[in-house]
Amino acid sequence: MSAAASTILEGIRRNASSGFDVEEVRRDFPILGEKVRGKPLVYLDNAATTQKPRVVIERLDGYYRTENANIHRGIHFLSERATQAYEEARATVARFLGAADAREIVFVRGTTEGINLVAQSYGRKFIGEGDEIVVSAMEHHSNIVPWQILREQVGAGLRVIPMNDHGELLVDEYERLFSDQTKLVAVTHLSNALGTINPVGEIIQIAHRHGVPVLVDGAQAAPHLRVDVREIDCDFYAFSGHKLYGPTGVGVLYGKASLLDAMPPYQGGGDMISSVTFEKTLYNVLPYKFEAGTPNIAGAIGLGAAIDYLSKVRLDLVAAHERELLAYATEAVSAIKGVRIIGTAREKAAVLSFVLDGVHAHDVGTILDQDGIAIRAGHHCAMPVMERFGVPATARASLGLYNTREEVDALVGAIEKVKRVFGR
C-alpha cells in the first residue's frame, strides 16, 4: 500500500472513531437510494446543487402542514408561529456565520441575488464614475456580471486579480491593483471551477488597509469550510441554501450592520417599510429594509434545518472526510493516463476539475451518465477561468458529505470506459 493510501485509511479510521460515519449519513438522504438508468446513483455534482437530508424535506413538509402563515403582520396564532420559526432560522444562520447580530442576516433568493443586492444598493450609492471594483480571475459569472451592470450604470471600472497555473491568486499583484479609486473588492472564497480556497482573511486585511470593503462569494465555501465572518472580517458574505443541503430559492447575504444601515433599499414593497404615505415612506429597520414582499418563509426555515443538520454531523468532521476523499480522488484520477487536473492549488476543497486528452468534457459527461454518475461538464459559469487554462470546458466531479471512496472508484472505472469508447 502506498504511503498516501495508508494516510487516507488512517484518516478514515480516525473519522470513524470521532463519530463521522458516511454510511449512516447516506441513510439520511432519501434520494441516494434511487437508481439512475438502472444503476445506483453516484452523485458527484454537489457544486451545482446538493441533495437534501430527510430532516430538511420533513421540515418543509411540516411547515406547510402545520405552521403556514404570512409573517410579521398577522395577529393570529399561526402567523406568530411562522414568524417565530422564520426568525429562529435567521438566528441559526447568524450563529453559523459567527455574525454579531441576527440583524446582519438578510434572506435573499441565493448568492446571485445577494451579490446583486450589494451591487445595486451599496454600489449605486457609494461607487461612481472612474471608481474601480476589484474581482478575481476565478470568479463565477454571478460575481462578474452584477459588477459589469453597475459599471454601465455608474461608469466605474473593473480590475482583475490574476492567478498562476495552479489556480492560486497572486496576492502581490492584487495589492498593486489598489488606488484611490478602488471602492470595493468582490472575491470568491472557494472557486467552483478549480476548487481553490482563497486566503480571504489576507485579501480582506489588505483591502482594509486601503480602506476598501470586501464582499466574499461563499456559495461554494459555506458547505465545506467553517466560516466566521468576524474572524475574517469581511464586510459582506453571500451564500445559497441549495448548495448547503437546504432548499432552492433561498440564500443569505450577511452585511456588517454599519454598512447595511447606510445602504438604500434594494427593492420596494411590503414589510420593508415602517410607514407609507403618498408623500413620504419611512423604511423599516435591519434586516427588514432589504426583505421587500413575502419572503421564501419555508425556504428560510428549511435552510435553518439544513444548518442544524450540518451542525449535528459536525462541519469539521465533514470537512475532514471531504479532504481525505478529495486527496483519494485526485490521486486516483491523476493516475489515469491522458487526464490533466485543472486546478492544483495547495489549498483546495471538494472540486476535481479535469480534462481527458482528445475527448471533450461533454462526451465524458454523457458516457459517465450512462453509468449513473452525475458530474458537470462545461465551463461552470466561469468562462474566464476556461480561457485562462486554454480549455473550452472541463469535466468536474464535486464532492459532498455523503460521497464515498467506492463512488470515486466508480468514477475512475467510468473514465476508463470513456477511453475505451474513444479507443484511447
Binding site: 454571478s142 471533450h360 461533454h362 465551463h379 470546458a393 474513444f422
Partner: protein, 157 residues
C-alpha cells in the same frame, strides 16, 4: 452500452479524430460562426458559393465528438449541392436528431448522416449535432457574425 454505441458509432469517432474539410477555405465568399454558449463550443463554416451551388466548403472549430463529427460529415454531404438542397438536408437532419415532425420516414434517405440517429436518445446533445448546421444555415443566408444555439432560449447557471 447499447445506446452509447449507437451514439458513438465508429464512423462518428473516425470523423471526430480525422475531421474532413477541416480548416479555413481560401477563396471563401461566405462564412458564419456557430456558438453554443452552454459548453463554449465554436465552429466556423466557410463557403465558396457560386450562384446557388456550394462549390467548396470547410469548417474550423473546437467541440465535442458529436459536434466535430457532425461538422465533418455535413461538409462532405452538402458539397456540390444547391442552397435549397442543403436546407432540405438540414431540416431532415434536424428531424432525425430531435425526432420532430421533420424526421425522415426513412433515415436511409439521409445517407451517411443516418449514423447520427443515436443522438435522439440524448436530448442534451442535439445542440452539439446541429451546431455546424446552424452555422451553415447562417452562411447560406448571408448572415455574418455569430449564430448562437441559445438565441431566445434559456441559459445555464
Amino acid at each position: 452500452m447499447t445506446e452509447l454505441s449507437e451514439l458513438y458509432q465508429q464512423v462518428i469517432l473516425d470523423h471526430n479524430q480525422k475531421p474532413r474539410n477541416f480548416g479555413e477555405l481560401e477563396g471563401a465568399n461566405r462564412t458564419a460562426e456557430g456558438y453554443n454558449p452552454l459548453c463554449g463550443d465554436r465552429v466556423t463554416v466557410y463557403l465558396q458559393l457560386s450562384g446557388d451551388v456550394i462549390r467548396e466548403i470547410s469548417f474550423l472549430g473546437s467541440g465535442c465528438a458529436i459536434a466535430t463529427a457532425s461538422g465533418s460529415m455535413m461538409t462532405a454531404s452538402v458539397k456540390g449541392k444547391t442552397k435549397a438542397e442543403a436546407e432540405v438536408l438540414f431540416q431532415r437532419f434536424h428531424g432525425l436528431v430531435t425526432g420532430g415532425p421533420d424526421a425522415p420516414v426513412n433515415p436511409e434517405a439521409l445517407g451517411k448522416l443516418a449514423v447520427f440517429s443515436g443522438v435522439f436518445e440524448f436530448p442534451v446533445r442535439v445542440k452539439c449535432a446541429t451546431l455546424a448546421w446552424h452555422a451553415l444555415h447562417a452562411a447560406l443566408d448571408g448572415n455574418r457574425g455569430t449564430v448562437s444555439t441559445e438565441e431566445g432560449g434559456r441559459r445555464e447557471t
